[in-house]
Structure formats: structure tokens, C-alpha cells
Subunit: 280 residues, 2 copies
DNA sequence: TATAAAATGAAATATTCATTTCAAAAACAG
DNA sequence: CTGTTTTTGAAATGAATATTTCATTTTATA
């Protein structure tokens, strides 16, 4: 029989979480599976039955009960109640309304709340406002490129590195264009017709990136632009531009929606590329 | 036998609510009790058993079952599942659409929709699961540092650059630690007690970052960790770790929620720093 | 490698739970 | 009132669930 904790088991979710973190390493393999699953899917543990949970966590029924007992609970039911309590008093439908009300009335709101709200809104707007076909066109263009160059400085730089990372992971040759303004333009001049450029700029616009785009367009290099407005200097009729507007909170803009768009672009490009080159 | 609705019962909480409001007046007395109780205590209906609910609503077991059937459900269990789903982190309207789309149109959903959905969900989870105090503690710690060092490679690198950008914009000295593994550890050894480190890692974990964290902790350098699980090797009891779980779409994870958290951390740190140094 | 200890899965058991049944009470119509 | 229908509650039934047991496998230890 496995040793069971003598002390009283955690009676709140956050205590339980702490317990799991502290004991995870010393837990048997299957119990670790349960631990990881529980932390990842607390709602499933709270609402479903042993049979369903154990199936999803890929363990047997007994293991779930053992897990609960090893923490010190009477059994699974006892532990489940802790997960359930953690969900209560935060009913989803009310939470939404509360959000709106509080946003209007109380100016002193937690930063996390304000920013996550803004991020969430921005993502929804993105989904509604962007034309799916534009993303597909862009990825088609990119999938044909031998090498994808990516440029975007300042606030756009994280997007640049994110795209770069994703392309590389998908086996697509990608290069970041950075450095001093002069050097960047020099680098851009060397990009060939069968390659492509992704340029990311937000207001306040960096003149460098605009220069880069122009250079490429002159050389007939395909350009995909990610901007926060069609009025952005780098959006022109002869390139493809994808527009993301990040909602601002007291003058500060996030990047959540932009990152989402970037991921989409990368994934779609990846799909097409793998079709073009069936065997790696 | 009581008349039962012939039409299909509501499959979302908000539909169910509407149904109850519309039929309330024509319901028998005890069923009215149940209706009122259910609208007032949806969480109890979602989580507890017939016995407990009927006791709290001051009706008998049978009445509860009858109530469910009179709406058109198979039985109480069927109705309860609607209440349960309303508590989960899956936003109601989309879950519905997804189900329908998946059933008839072969799960061929636009990538943009899937990713923005995942991003949005991740942000909501972040908001609910993270402890606001942890962010404040972390920013307090960071605001006291003369220089903030930031480390995070691979998928975490965009987060690193984002934090770096924001700190600099706020007039906070920040340095990115990158380069070859060996060099990184060397750099970390030079960080002093009155400085701080932010480490960002996601699974699959890079061993380098863990090494970095350990080095700093040994030297008593304050460490703030951003990870995607409390089981991450860099989360330890003696540092501050902030947890973000990005929902995955066919194995691919975004960064939207993480970026949101990063922004919060930077902004809170900025606030505190400006208080500490009133005049620049 | 041999032995003990721990972990695990499958099946049996016991419990809890939802559902149905049926008789009594209440409401209603003539 | 009287007979009929609807509503209701208590108990019986049947189904699902959690828990325990035990044989087997795995892991650790000497």
C-alpha cells in the first residue's frame, strides 16, 4: 500500500497546486501523469467522472483514486470537491457582465484585467476584420520564396523573432534583417526576386522599414506587410498588407493579436510549403 | 403524466435561461421553485447531486427530474451537463459553433479562427488562474533592481525581446542574455544581488535557462520565472514564477497570452520604478 | 542476479446516485 | 359535492460511480 500523507490535505485549489508542485518529482510515473493533467485541466477534473478523466489522462481508474489518497484525501470524490469549489462563485456568464460594468464604473482596475481584456478584444476584431483570403495569398507568396527575410524593429521586433522561430521550426529558410539602418538597406538590396520579405511596422513608424519595403518593391521582390493601419506608409497597392489593430490601454498597446496573426501566417505558409516539397 | 416539450431542449445555459423565463408562469408551483433556484444558483445545480439540490431548493428529488423532463431533457443528468458546460472556460457561443461546424463541415475550419479562439481562451484562463499578487510581487522585486537581465530562447525569445523593449521605453535598464550556452552561464555569474533576472521557458525546456536560474539563485540574485507549467524545471519554491498556459491547436502553441502577461509585468514594474525615482 | 518493495491494472464490490413507479394529496371542472 | 385530472412525495428500482482487492509487473536494493 502506498504511503499516504498524514497531514490534512489541501482544502483550496491553490494550496493543492502548491502541494503538487512540491511533490511532483517524488511521485510515481502514473501519479505524475495525473498531476500534470489535473493542473492542465482543472475543469475536467472538477466536472467529469473518474472513468472519463482517467481515459483523458491515460491512466487507470485506480490511479486516480491513488493520487487523491496519496495527497491525503479520503478518495477521489473528496479531492474533486476541492476542484469544484475552485470553480464556484465565478460563474462564467456573470463574469462577462461584471467585466463590462467594472470597466465603465471603476477606473482603478487591475492591470492584468485591463490588458487581457484589450488583448481579447483585439483578437476578436482581428478575426472579424481581416480577410482570410489575404492571409492565404500572403502565405502562397511566401511559400514560393527560397528564403524569407523578416524585418521589424522596436515594438515589432518580437513579431519578427516569432515569425523567424516558426519558419525555422517548419523547415523554412528565414533570415532576420536587423542592425543599423544603412546596413539594413544594403542587406535588402541583395534580396532576389525568388525570395520574399515580411515587413512589420506599427505607428510610430520607423522610416527604416519603409525604405526596406521600397527597395524590395523596386527589385520586384514579393513583400508581405503587417501593419496597424492601411494608412501606414508601408502599405501600398502593389504589396500584400495584413492589418492588425491592437486596442490600447492608457496609451499602451499589446501584441497579442499581432502574434496570433503571425502564427497563422506562419502555419499557412508551412502547410503550403510542405505540399510543394512533399519529401524533406 | 406531465406534458413534456416536444422540441429539442436548450443546449446552452443562456438558451435555457430564456426558456425558463418564458415558461415560468405556466409552471406548477414546485417546478417554479426549481426554476427560481436554478437561475439563482447555477453553480449548485452544476456541481451538486439531486439530493443536495432538492434539499436546498426545498423540493423532492422527483421534482427535479420532472423539471428537467418538462423542458425536454432526457433527465436531470442531461440538464445538469448544460449547467456544467456553462462553467467551463470554453466560451459558450463558440463551443456551439465549433460543434456544429465540426459535425457537418468536416472540421475544416479556418486557421485564423482556430488560432484566435485558442489565443482568446488562453488569455481568459490566464486572467482567472494567475494570482494578481504574484505579478505585483514580481514587479516589486524587479523595480528594485539596478539592471534587469532577461533570458529566454527559442519560442520564448519573442517574449524576451518584448520585455526588453518595454523596459527600455519606460526608462528601465534591461539587458538580454543570449548567445551560446557557455557564454550565457558566464554572463549570469556576473549578475549582482542588487540586480535581477527574468527567465522565460516553455516545454520542451531548454536546459540552458534552468542552469541560468540556478546560478542566479545560488548568488542570491532575485529571479522571476515565466513558464507554461508549474512543473517546469525552473519553477522552485524560492523564486517567483508566473504561469501561462497557451492552448494548443494541433500541437502548435501561440504566444498571445504570454505577451499579455509580459506587458502587465513590464507596466507594473514601470509604475513602481517611477515611484521610486520621482524625478528622472 | 536475486530479493524485496513499490507501482500498476483488471476485476469485484459497495456505495451513491438518478430514475421510475405508485399511491396519496391537491386542484379543477361539471 | 363528485369524479377526474394534475401534481406531488416516498419508496423501489436500476444504473453509474467510486472504492477496494488482489494478482502481476516494474523498479529499486543488496
Amino acid at each position: 500500500m502506498p504511503k499516504t500523507e498524514q497531514t490534512q490535505p489541501p482544502r483550496t485549489y491553490s494550496e493543492l497546486k502548491t502541494w503538487i508542485q512540491e511533490h511532483y518529482d517524488s511521485l510515481p510515473k502514473r501519479l505524475q501523469s495525473v498531476a500534470a493533467f489535473a493542473l492542465d485541466n482543472p475543469d475536467v477534473v472538477a466536472l467529469k467522472t473518474i472513468a472519463i478523466i482517467s481515459e483523458q489522462a491515460e491512466v487507470t481508474d485506480s490511479t486516480l483514486v491513488r493520487f487523491a489518497k496519496s495527497i491525503g484525501y479520503d478518495g477521489f470524490t473528496d479531492m474533486q470537491s476541492v476542484f469544484q469549489e475552485s470553480m464556484r462563485y465565478i460563474p462564467q456568464p456573470y463574469a462577462q457582465r461584471l467585466n463590462r460594468l467594472e470597466t465603465d464604473s471603476q477606473s482603478e482596475q487591475s492591470a492584468l484585467h485591463k490588458f487581457s481584456q484589450a488583448a481579447s478584444n483585439s483578437i476578436h476584431k482581428l478575426e472579424q476584420q481581416i480577410d482570410e483570403k489575404d492571409i492565404l495569398k500572403a502565405s502562397e507568396l511566401l511559400s514560393k520564396a527560397r528564403t524569407i527575410y523578416i524585418a521589424g524593429a522596436g515594438r515589432a521586433f518580437p513579431v519578427t523573432t516569432y515569425l523567424h522561430y516558426n519558419f525555422l521550426k517548419m523547415g523554412i529558410q528565414a533570415v532576420i534583417i536587423d542592425g543599423i539602418s544603412d546596413t539594413m538597406t544594403e542587406k535588402a538590396k541583395l534580396i532576389r526576386k525568388d525570395e520574399a520579405l515580411i515587413a512589420i511596422t506599427f505607428s510610430p513608424y520607423s522610416a527604416h522599414t519603409k525604405e526596406l519595403v521600397d527597395t524590395c518593391l523596386v527589385n520586384e521582390v514579393p513583400v508581405v506587410a503587417i501593419t496597424d493601419s492601411t494608412l501606414s506608409p508601408i502599405s501600398r497597392s502593389d504589396d500584400l498588407h495584413l492589418e492588425v489593430v491592437e486596442e490600447e490601454v492608457s496609451g499602451i498597446r499589446g501584441l497579442s493579436a499581432t502574434m496570433c496573426l503571425a502564427l497563422c501566417l506562419a502555419v499557412e505558409t508551412g502547410k503550403l510549403t510542405s505540399k510543394l516539397t512533399p519529401k524533406t
